[in-house]
Symmetry: C2
Subunit: 235 residues, 2 copies
Amino acid sequence: MQNIIIASTSTIHGGSYLDYLIEELKELYKNTSSIVFVPYARPNGISHDNYTDKVRHVFSKIDIDVKGLHEFPNPIEAITEAPGIFTGGGNTFVLVNQLYKNKLIKPIKDSVDKGTPYLGTSAGSNICGLTMNTTNDMPVVYPESFKTLGLVPFNINPHYLDPESNSKHMGETREMRIAEFHTFNTQPVIGIREGSWLKVNNNTIILKGKLNARIFEHGKLPYEIEPKTDLSQLY
Amino acid sequence: MQNIIIASTSTIHGGSYLDYLIEELKELYKNTSSIVFVPYARPNGISHDNYTDKVRHVFSKIDIDVKGLHEFPNPIEAITEAPGIFTGGGNTFVLVNQLYKNKLIKPIKDSVDKGTPYLGTSAGSNICGLTMNTTNDMPVVYPESFKTLGLVPFNINPHYLDPESNSKHMGETREMRIAEFHTFNTQPVIGIREGSWLKVNNNTIILKGKLNARIFEHGKLPYEIEPKTDLSQLY
């Protein structure tokens, strides 16, 4: 029953906000004329109002009304009754912190599992995984837990970045960080490159976009999968 | 009474482990012939034993014996009685998680405040700040708290990295991440570039090495400070 887009990023280099996904969004939200936007991740500390305005502007082009979750007196009720949900990117710690404060983890999961169409970008994609332990974000606040929606049976690493061979910086590569994650955790991680997304529908989880994704399974060497691969058997 | 080195990194490009700091370490540990090494940050998941062996090898060159904190039956007692402490880099979440599990935050702080010489590199430097909210690491485990030692009155951002002007990756720059931190927190953050360190001694906090550091104060534009600047008045 799930109908989900888990996108690496909202904006690809040289493009504008969500433009590369517009056809997918028309399809995702084809049975609704309004959605609830979750602005909690607050990229660069933007206000909930300003973030929602930005999203409203883009969705107006495909005739979908947007209401910010912060505009509702009862956010749990708003999620339960939402005809569609979009959680935008920003800081995953800030997002998850606010979701726990407002007791929204279970309501969102229940709503999406019942078929409410869901779009996540970046931080909004991270929370589709089992936990937020593979976010790239700075831990600027301390959320009640790192457990997230578990809409898919693995973790997400959005904005997946290949190592830069000529860098002199001694920090870890993304691949080294995910290997560290697997020292302490066993679930698979999907590294989704910018411009790619997962489409969850009819019990399949299909990689879409032009690029491969990188799969990290506990105890195995990382490997690449091509667009159109179904990841629903990955546990 | 504090006598601390807070280093951005253990290893600079083209160098070997701790080699650029050797003269500083001779000075820091001049009154002791042995130190306790805290291997908890486990870079790339390395074992406590292997990590300690690596450190032991380097310190043998300056005639200092190294014992791993994990080798002691009572870690609190080991810290309290340590003639010198070194906390190595790795993953700050893993480090802080283990420090809380073993109830070591206060014992380390008390020991260092009483004058026990302390070296931190990378994650071991992060914990010298008020909180670990400005770490660059992936949150692979969930520690009991993000509060850290508070040996200095600000936060540390080690491996500070300037924006890459020709990058096509749409992720945040380090400066944007720290700005996000200041949406939710007010303490200053010191971005220490690789090859630089802070020397804390006689109530001064001096920037050392060849590079400037970048200072982020809440509500101000970021600015640069030069080597030899004293940061002890920064709150």
